[in-house]
Structure formats: structure tokens, C-alpha cells
Symmetry: C2
Subunit: 134 residues, 2 copies
């Protein structure tokens, strides 16, 4: 396994940004955590229109950072199934904080009932994600 | 003022990533929120070694997204002072969730006493930021 390059600094915010600080990685994590998507083809279908080379590069980086794992699909050995690790599932509070902020300041599609539920119980989505079979 | 380009989707997580989803923007926000930095020169001095052209581009984008404001320094009119808007200050819970996650999974410099305090009271840093004079 290749040695990881040194971090830019020892700041925890920087460590997080070096793991998934880009415009795409957290969308893949969203798809795995909340939308039940598990294959390359399913990630490609998201509304944001990720390019295939960017998707491949982000999946590789998320795996190298221990956030996702892959295994062959038992029904089709050429296809791979992606899943979040514990480290990846623990990104749920970050996604929730992004949702709460954006729903306050940006035009989004967040249903207001779900938003109210989240504001009453910030762990609601995180707990829902952890109840998912892995 | 230029019309903003359409978002890639209506998802709130995507809206947040389009505003500050890169490896640098949240470090500038960290410097403003927790380190008392307010000038271009001070941002350049952070450990991560941001390049001057990237810093200029990120400051412009954060301002266009309503996350920071600038005003001339009353002591030196050629220098600009940067500050977080309310929208920017409300990013505090996102920074806190990054800190909590990275402190659990990455080697960082987060003091364990501060981390325990954050885990007991997730609003601790956010409240501290809001008590700051703007």
C-alpha cells in the first residue's frame, strides 16, 4: 500500500477536507447513506451529473481514506457493490449540518416537515442511517 | 450583479458544496471564526500554505455567496478587513461536526479537553463564535 502524503497541517478541519473536501465526494456519501445507491451506475444517475472519470477518482479516494468499501456483487461478479464503513457512516452529522444550513440560506428541495424533524432531533437522520443494514 | 449559474440540483447538500465545497474555503472560514484573522496577509500565513491566487479566488467566491463581507481598514485604506456574515457565522455547527469526526478518525492536533467539551456541548464553539464582536 502506498504511503499517504503528509497532511498540509495538523488541524482537524484540514484533515476532514483532505479526505472529502471537494464538490463531489459528499454527494456520493449522500447517495450511499440516504438514497440506497450502491453501484457505479447508480451514482452516475444522480441529478448533479457527475462525470465518469471524476466518479472513479472520488470512489478510489474515498476507499483509500477508509470511508467506503467495495465487494463483488454476488449476483454479477463483474459489478462492484459499494458500502460505507463505520468511519463513513459517522459522516452523518456533517451531512445533517449541511442540510440544516442550506435549508436556511439556499433555495433547496428539502421538505419542510423533514427539516422541522431534523431541527428538533439533529440525530434523526444519523440514527436512521445507522439502522440501515450495512 | 451577474446572474448566478443554475445549481446542479435542488439538493441542500449540493447547494452547500457549491458554496464552499473545496479544500480551502472552510479553512478561511475557520481562520475568521476561531483564529481572529481578518486580512489577506493573515490568511496567507496559515499552516496549510494557501497560494495567493487560490486565496483571492476563494475570497471572491465566499463574498459572492454572501458568506463574508469586506470593508476598508480604517487604519490603512488600501487594506481590506474581512468578516463573516450571519450566514457565514451559521457555518459553525458544520465546522464543529468536521472537528468531532476528524478527531475520532484522523491524527490531529485537537486538544482532548476541548474535544470533550465539544462532545458534551456541540454548540460550545458556535456560541463562542457568536459572542465574538463582528
Amino acid at each position: 500500500m502506498k504511503k499517504k502524503p503528509a497532511r498540509r497541517s495538523s488541524c482537524p478541519i484540514n484533515a476532514a477536507l483532505e479526505s472529502f473536501g471537494d464538490r463531489w465526494s459528499l454527494l456520493i456519501i449522500r447517495d450511499l447513506m440516504f438514497r440506497g445507491r450502491r453501484t457505479y451506475k447508480e451514482f452516475l444517475e444522480s441529478d448533479e451529473g457527475i462525470a465518469t472519470n471524476i466518479l472513479a477518482s472520488r470512489l478510489k479516494s474515498l476507499k483509500a481514506n477508509g470511508i467506503i468499501t467495495t465487494r463483488p456483487d454476488p449476483e454479477d461478479g463483474r459489478r462492484r457493490i459499494y458500502a460505507l464503513t463505520k468511519k463513513g457512516l459517522d459522516l452523518a452529522p456533517i451531512l445533517v449540518s449541511l442540510v440544516v444550513w442550506a435549508s436556511r440560506y439556499e433555495r433547496t428541495s428539502m421538505p419542510s416537515a423533514l427539516l422541522r424533524r431534523l431541527q428538533d432531533d439533529p440525530n434523526f437522520l444519523a440514527n436512521a442511517a445507522e439502522r440501515q443494514p450495512n
